[in-house]
């Protein structure tokens, strides 16, 4: 762990991106304090205004403060992104541990189910699930979570296959440890590294999918602010108030870029094949 910490602090990208992500989390958590206005409050006399002292990033077609909506949008994106990845991690880990450890027909069955989930383009499967469950925050989280389960199952299964016959697992078996204990106390701590890398990369994908669903009107529902929804609404007014499109785009790009670069950096730190490249 101390080696990881040393390598982490030595990696500038990892440090800068983690600071940026921490900052985004703080902004999202403190949105009610930091946002200058209520994100749904309409200032009818200030519609589609440019930047001013009262509205730092201007206002939208209903006179709502763009800065406040971008700040609250961060909250939605991060909550949906992180929650969806947590759903994928929990189910992916359980399926991956079971498939890798037990092998044989259980492995075959679980991995064929994952192959089926992999046979759909990500956004299309998410759309189909949302079409069935209906739009909304919870359903968006579930849809994105389900779509990402196969990648975590494969990651964990691969890691389990490489360690399940090592001495420490054999010893645990020899002293009569129960299967759940072997799975969760012995094997699981050793698959957390690939899980961490995959999670940080999956969060950016989840944020992208959420914003795409919201853009199509099937994710977060108005008047709740989401970056994808804001861009979708702004399309009709893009020539009159380009800021309505530009600011959510900037916020989304910074967030996704930070997640991607953080994921790459953590992979470089943990994976000896990437180190020094």
């Amino acid at each position: 762990m101390s080696t990881f910490r040393k390598r982490f602090w030595a990696n500038k990208t990892a440090v800068i991106c983690s600071i940026l992500l921490a900052l985004l989390c703080v902004i999202a958590a403190l949105a009610p304090v930091l946002a200058p206005h209520d994100p749904t409050e309409m200032f009818q006399n200030n519609r589609m205004e440019g930047s001013s002292d009262t509205f730092l990033l201007g206002t939208d077609q209903f006179g709502r403060d763009l800065l406040s909506r971008v700040i609250y949008g961060a909250r939605v994106s991060l909550v949906v992104g992180i929650s969806a990845v947590m759903v994928s991690v929990i189910f992916g880990t359980i399926f991956g541990l079971i498939a890798g450890y037990f092998g044989r027909w259980i492995d075959g069955f679980i991995m064929r189910v994952m192959d089926v989930l992999f046979a759909f383009p990500e956004i299309l499967l998410a759309l189909a699930i949302v079409a069935a469950l209906g739009p909304g925050t919870f359903n968006t989280i579930m849809a994105i979570g389900i779509v990402n389960i196969p990648i975590f199952t494969r990651t964990v299964r691969g890691a389990v296959l490489s360690i399940k016959n090592l001495e420490f697992v054999e010893s645990a078996r020899a002293i009569g440890a129960s299967t759940p204990r072997i799975l969760f106390k012995e094997i699981f701590p050793n698959v957390t590294a690939p899980l961490l890398v995959q999670s940080s990369l999956a969060i950016s994908g989840a944020i992208l999918t959420e914003s795409a669903l919201s853009f199509l009107g099937l994710g977060i529902q108005p008047p709740d602010p989401s970056w994808g929804g804001m861009i979708s609404e702004a399309r009709r007014y893009m020539e009159l108030a380009p800021g309505m499109i530009i600011w959510p785009c900037v916020a989304m790009t910074v967030t996704i870029l930070s997640c991607n670069m953080f994921g790459d950096a953590v992979r470089d730190i943990l994976d000896p094949r990437h180190r020094g490249k």
Binding site: R112, V113, D115, V116, L117, A119, F120, P121, E122, I123, L124, L125, L127, A128, I129, V130, A131, A132, L133, G134, S204, L208, S211, A212, F215, L216, G217, L218, G228, I231, S232, A234, R235, M238, E239, P242, I245, I246, P248, C249, M252, T253, I256, L257, N260, M261, K277
Partner: protein
């Protein structure tokens, strides 16, 4: 090769079965009565009962599934609840448009990605390499609908130009088709280029370190011969893999771009069906895209053997 192809086709059977079960199940998860949801709040009891009967929704789930799959195997994807049209001919017609868009996007993406990926690897850590890597990261991180919206903003604001709305086939009028598809294809092409460029760079970096490249250089071959004659083919497997995945992405990702640019492709057909709660169309469209995705993956596996004859199945 023949035996491998047969084995792969046989292994597709459980996958295709799983896909059909999943598509069928997802749309039967709809809370409430699908018939009344599809017909909306103004529907009468009689019309709801009639739809339920015509779609077989009164039957047990297994019977419904078997009837649906039986129809699919005979090329019958059912009828749209909204328009009353046969679904399969619509899917095929719309898929033709999506395919044109995909081909345009792939051509744009690869034309940019492969040369720049190679240059970036050959001149690793130079300013060009840094610029390529930054562009790649941005391409991966900016959502395609944001890229598309910004492209529309720039072309309309600064060039006073909007893409034509009427879709024309490339074979009928290539110039007009280019005008229709240039913005949506560029939008998708940027995302494709980012992924392929990243993979090309990393594959070339690895290949250029190999002994056979050193030998080729030592024999006095020109840089061009070393790169194109020796490194290119040996780096192409991961590039083909990512390219195959990208085609799958394009087929699914086209939903957003088609909606953004009002292109009546398969993605927009499925999306409109979702908005109208036309579940037979959603089922048919999603299933069709999944089938194409599976076949594209099979094709990619077969291309591996052509690229690298050492791969034996």
């Amino acid at each position: 090769m023949g035996a491998y192809l047969f084995k792969r086709l046989v292994s597709l059977i459980p996958i295709l079965f799983g896909i059909s079960v999943l598509v069928f199940t997802i749309l039967h998860l709809v809370p409430g009565d699908p018939a009344s949801i599809m017909l909306g709040t103004n529907a009468t009891e009689e019309s709801i009962a009639a739809l339920r009967k015509s779609m077989g929704l009164d039957e047990p789930l297994v019977t419904q599934y078997l009837t649906w799959v039986g129809g699919l195997l005979q090329g019958d994807f059912g009828v749209s609840v909204h328009s009353g049209e046969e679904i399969l001919p619509q899917i095929i017609k719309r898929f033709g448009i999506t395919l044109q868009l995909t081909v345009f996007a792939v051509v744009i993406g690869w034309l940019v990605a492969i040369p720049f990926g190679i240059i970036s690897a050959i001149r690793a850590h130079s300013k060009t390499d840094i610029a390529v890597r930054v562009a790649t990261l941005l391409g991966i991180s900016v959502p395609n609908f944001a890229i598309g919206t910004l492209l529309l903003l720039v072309t309309s604001l600064y060039f006073n130009w909007f893409p034509p709305i009427d879709v024309v086939s490339f074979w009928e009028n290539p110039l007009e088709a280019f005008k229709v598809f240039v913005l949506p294809a560029t939008t998708m092409g940027i995302v494709v280029a980012a992924g392929v460029m990243r993979m090309t760079r990393s594959a070339f970096l690895e290949t250029m370190d190999k002994d056979f490249i050193r030998t080729a250089r030592a024999k006095g071959n020109s840089k061009w011969t070393v790169v194109m004659g020796h490194a290119f083919r040996n780096s192409s497997i991961p590039i083909v893999t990512i390219a195959g995945m990208q085609i799958g992405y394009l087929l699914g990702g086209s939903v957003i771009v088609e909606q953004l640019f009002s292109i009546p492709g398969l993605g927009q057909y499925v999306l409109e069906a979702i908005y109208q709660r036309d579940y037979p169309v959603v089922q048919g469209g999603v299933l069709f895209v999944a089938l194409v995705f599976v076949l594209v993956n099979l094709l990619i596996d077969l291309i591996y053997t052509w690229i690298d004859p050492r791969i034996k199945y």
